[in-house]
């Protein structure tokens, strides 16, 4: 199954989004839920 476990801390990550802005998961902590969608491809 997954290497991440439900009801445990999600691994933090920091990436640059396609607009060139930094997206850091932990930036949303305390403010928003985050839905991560891993799409293997658009088409």
């Amino acid at each position: 199954m997954a290497s991440v476990e439900v009801n445990k801390s999600a691994p933090d990550f920091e990436f640059v989004d396609f607009k060139g802005e930094v997206f850091k998961l932990s930036n949303f902590q305390g403010k928003k839920n985050v839905l991560i969608v891993l799409n293997r491809g658009f088409v």
């Binding site: 445990k8 396609f18 949303f28 902590q29 928003k32 839920n33 985050v34 839905l35 991560i36 891993l38």
Partner: protein, 103 residues
């Protein structure tokens, strides 16, 4: 991903941001976003870094292009993981809304 955009306003009402991650490059994201007028975040991840981080069984993903969703609450706790078994195996937004309401 259009189904996510379709209910995007409700995600916003529930204090939820959406980030789509894929192996495409920034240009592909850009044109797809413009074409479908998507509002959420898009992360190009060519090296499958996030994929590997969140999915130990990379083999599972190598089999094809299976979608996966994860919901992380405001404390940074992973609350929900869904690995698709087919391209169309994506949870309904209503299922995710119900989950958010329980947080």
């Amino acid at each position: 991903m259009m189904q996510l955009q379709h209910d995007y306003e409700e995600f916003v009402e529930k204090d939820t941001v959406i980030v789509a991650i894929g192996p495409e490059n920034a240009e592909a994201f850009q044109s797809y976003w413009e074409e479908h007028k998507l509002s959420f975040y898009g992360l190009p991840d060519k090296k499958h870094t996030v994929l590997k981080m969140y999915g130990q069984k990379v083999n599972l993903f190598k089999l094809g292009r299976m979608p996966a969703q994860m919901l992380i609450d405001k404390e940074g706790i992973l609350r929900y993981v869904h690995y698709g078994h087919s391209m169309k195996d994506i949870p309904e937004n209503s299922e995710i809304f119900e989950l958010i309401d329980t947080l």
